[in-house]
């Protein structure tokens, strides 16, 4: 819909592209996500948090479909779905806690029915189809969305999921974040398909490829796919083509396998600058707005960091208390033992 500088590619854009509040919210949330990622990186680098996968350059995907989601819809995220999670009511604190090694980060206070982040790749696709099966069984009008990296589409679970979503006509939307890289593995050696979207043909489901750096495009296809899902009209596979401008995670060093030039080229089409250009062309965004936004975002993040750093440490009994509805006797003894030692532990080794 928009070119890299933010100029419309077609004479007429869909109506929502004139909804300035929506456009501003798209922009605001992409900026918010990028700032959050930067802070998460800083926390990891300073030893205050564990490994973290950023969304740099891919903000239009999670924010785009996140804005099209309704509260009652269900999100089944993977580890790089921070944008979708934030949009669906998961708090910055919860995300910090998760990557900070604390299960309480998966106990979403608002998005109670969303799945916790899936680290085992592609498994989330099957969970999403299961959730959609329950929703269909109960004749509810709710969409289910899950997200997966382009590399993850090589897993059998991805294919099993789209296949059953097709034959059972499930209201699930599969978002492929095609950021071109699976850690160090580029698409050229991941699959022989020209597009990831065409993998949907193997399941007989509708499949679309979209510019994942154009949030208007992402929002539009997501919105339509969710409406279709809620209406019981079946599944959609959406390949959002983007680029991973960051390392795979804080534990990765992309310079080992990826050229500077490629990375610089990647910056040309990044989504925030593009939407900014469009907003400005509509006179819908000023430097004052930008200043205000930066401050607002910084404050929100600071508050979350403070809450995270002052969050009470987990207790040894937390290892046990939600393992079963009722803890078996022999494990109760282990729990007591762990509590008794809890104090002694320094967290260091030996």
């Amino acid at each position: 819909y928009l070119d890299p500088t933010g100029k419309p590619l077609t004479k007429t854009l869909p109506d929502f592209a004139k909804d300035k509040d929506l456009l501003r919210s798209m922009y605001r949330n992409m900026v918010r996500l990028r700032a959050f990622d930067a802070k998460a990186y800083a926390l990891q680098r300073t030893g205050n948090m564990g490994t973290y996968p950023a969304s740099l350059g891919q903000e239009a995907i999670g924010i785009g479909y996140g804005l099209a989601l309704k509260k009652e819809d269900v999100l089944v995220p993977y580890y790089r779905s921070t944008g979708g999670l934030l949009m669906h009511g998961v708090s910055m604190l919860e995300i910090f806690l998760y990557w900070g090694g604390d299960e309480r980060g998966s106990d979403f206070k608002v998005a109670r029915e969303d799945f916790p982040i899936a680290v085992p790749i592609a498994t989330q696709c099957l969970h999403a189809t299961g959730v959609a099966t329950a929703i269909k069984y109960r004749k509810q009008q709710r969409a289910v969305v899950t997200e997966i990296g382009e590399g993850g589409t090589s897993e059998g679970d991805f294919y099993e999921a789209i296949n059953v979503a097709g034959i059972w006509n499930l209201g699930v939307v599969f978002f492929i974040n095609n950021n071109q890289w699976a850690i160090s593995v580029p698409s050229e050696i991941q699959t022989n398909c020209e597009t990831y979207a065409q993998k949907g043909i193997a399941a007989g489901i509708e499949s679309v490829q979209v510019d994942g750096n154009d949030i208007l495009a992402v929002y539009d296809v997501a919105h339509k796919a969710f409406e279709k899902a809620r209406a019981g009209k079946g599944a959609t596979l959406i390949e959002a083509v983007s680029y991973r401008l960051c390392d795979h995670t804080t534990a990765d060093d992309a310079s080992r396998y990826r050229s500077k030039d490629e990375l610089e080229k990647g910056w040309d089409s990044e989504p925030i600058k593009r939407l900014r250009g469009y907003l400005e062309s509509l006179k819908a965004w000023s430097d004052k707005d930008e200043e205000a936004l930066q401050k607002e975002v910084a404050d929100e993040i600071e508050a979350a960091v403070h809450a995270y750093k002052t969050f009470p440490a987990p207790k040894p009994e937390d290892m046990f208390d939600t393992l079963y509805a009722e803890l078996p006797k022999h494990i109760q003894q282990q729990r007591a033992d762990a509590i008794a030692r809890g104090a002694k532990h320094t967290g260091g080794h030996h």
């Binding site: 299960e103 106990d107 099957l126 299961g130 099966t133 937390d318 006797k329």
Partner: protein, 326 residues
């Protein structure tokens, strides 16, 4: 009240829960019109409809993954793996997800689901149809692993498994599917999970087993009686979480323990029971802890399966050996 087989008891329990609770659904390969390759779901699709007794595409990771997603929404899926060894494509789902959901979400999402599978050898089945992989499942925290040994327990324990708020693996000894009959009243009364059953009281030696091997074990106990050896026989039934107290009490009384199971010896659940007794009941032992198990090799094709599986003779010989110790 007619006497029914174990497979009929499974069918009865499934029908009971499908009738009682609309959140219960059955899914798997060929569970629909065909009623399952062993007929566990015989007639259920016809009775409860195809949206509650669901023939799935052919993929086990998918079946487990679907059930996880459905259970997360509060449904109570009962998934069937057609044979125990075909559960392995779903091992990742079981290990990394099914067992962990409640804990990792601190109780926000729970999985009231059951995975059933025919289990064990002895029916002259083709390759990969006769394994006993209970130990690699019971080693996973967060699961319950149940193996009924007879029709009544299959009925009562399956009811409990379906009603349990946590995920349960329910392994059905296929060799026993049709060889024993019990009179069962379809009264919806469950048997408790996590409790052993003492099937024979005895004073000289404790014989512990589960699943199909309970039958060889009980026969052995009868024969030992004729030799003047009084054997206490315990059916573990729920191998995880393990009711070790019942076993320890028995060993405190008898001083001798012999554990019987079909799986390859090393790393079997018989080893876990032996380890716990060696830890908590060592000084009650008059004799070494005996394990009569499958050998440390792959379950052979069927011509040799009988030679792989523990026989009444092997149990008898081991029991007699242990009786030598005074």
């Amino acid at each position: 009240m007619a006497a029914i087989t174990l497979i009929e008891a499974v069918n009865l329990a499934l029908a009971h829960e499908l009738k009682r609770d609309n959140d219960v659904v059955v899914l798997g390969e060929d569970v629909g019109v065909n009623g399952g390759v062993f007929r566990a779901t015989n007639g259920l699709a016809q009775k409860f409809g195809k949206d509650r007794v669901i023939d799935t595409p052919l993929a086990e990771s998918m079946i487990a993954g679907l059930a996880i997603g459905m259970a997360a929404q509060g449904m109570k899926p009962v998934a069937e793996m057609q044979f125990e060894a075909f559960m392995m494509p779903a091992y990742d789902m079981i290990y990394n997800h099914m067992a962990r959901m409640r804990l990792r979400t601190r109780g926000r999402i729970t999985l009231p689901m059951v995975i059933r599978a025919p289990w064990g050898g002895g029916i002259h089945a083709p390759e990969h149809h006769s394994d006993s992989p209970e130990a690699q499942c019971a080693h996973i925290p967060g699961l319950k692993v149940v193996i009924p040994s007879n029709p009544s327990r299959a009925y009562g324990l399956l009811l409990a498994a379906i009603r349990d708020p946590d995920p349960v693996l329910f392994f059905e000894p296929k060799r026993v599917y049709r060889i024993v009959k019990h009179e069962i009243e379809d009264n919806g009364e469950e048997y408790p999970l996590g409790t052993c059953f003492v099937d024979r009281e005895g004073t000289d030696i404790t014989l512990v087993s589960w699943g199909a091997m309970m039958h060889e074990t009980l026969i052995a106990a009868d024969k030992l009686k004729l030799e003047g050896i009084s054997a206490e026989v315990i059916d573990v039934a729920t191998i995880s979480p393990l009711d070790i107290d019942t076993i320890l009490e028995s060993v405190a009384k008898t001083g001798r323990l012999c554990i019987v199971c079909e799986a390859p010896r090393s790393g079997s659940w018989a080893s876990e029971i032996a380890a716990q007794v060696a830890e908590h009941g060592l000084f009650n032992l008059l004799a070494p802890i005996g394990r009569v198990t499958g050998y440390d090799t792959t379950m052979p094709y069927y011509k040799l399966e009988k030679q792989f599986m523990p026989s009444v003779d092997r149990i008898l010989e081991e029991a007699r050996r242990l009786m030598q110790y005074k």
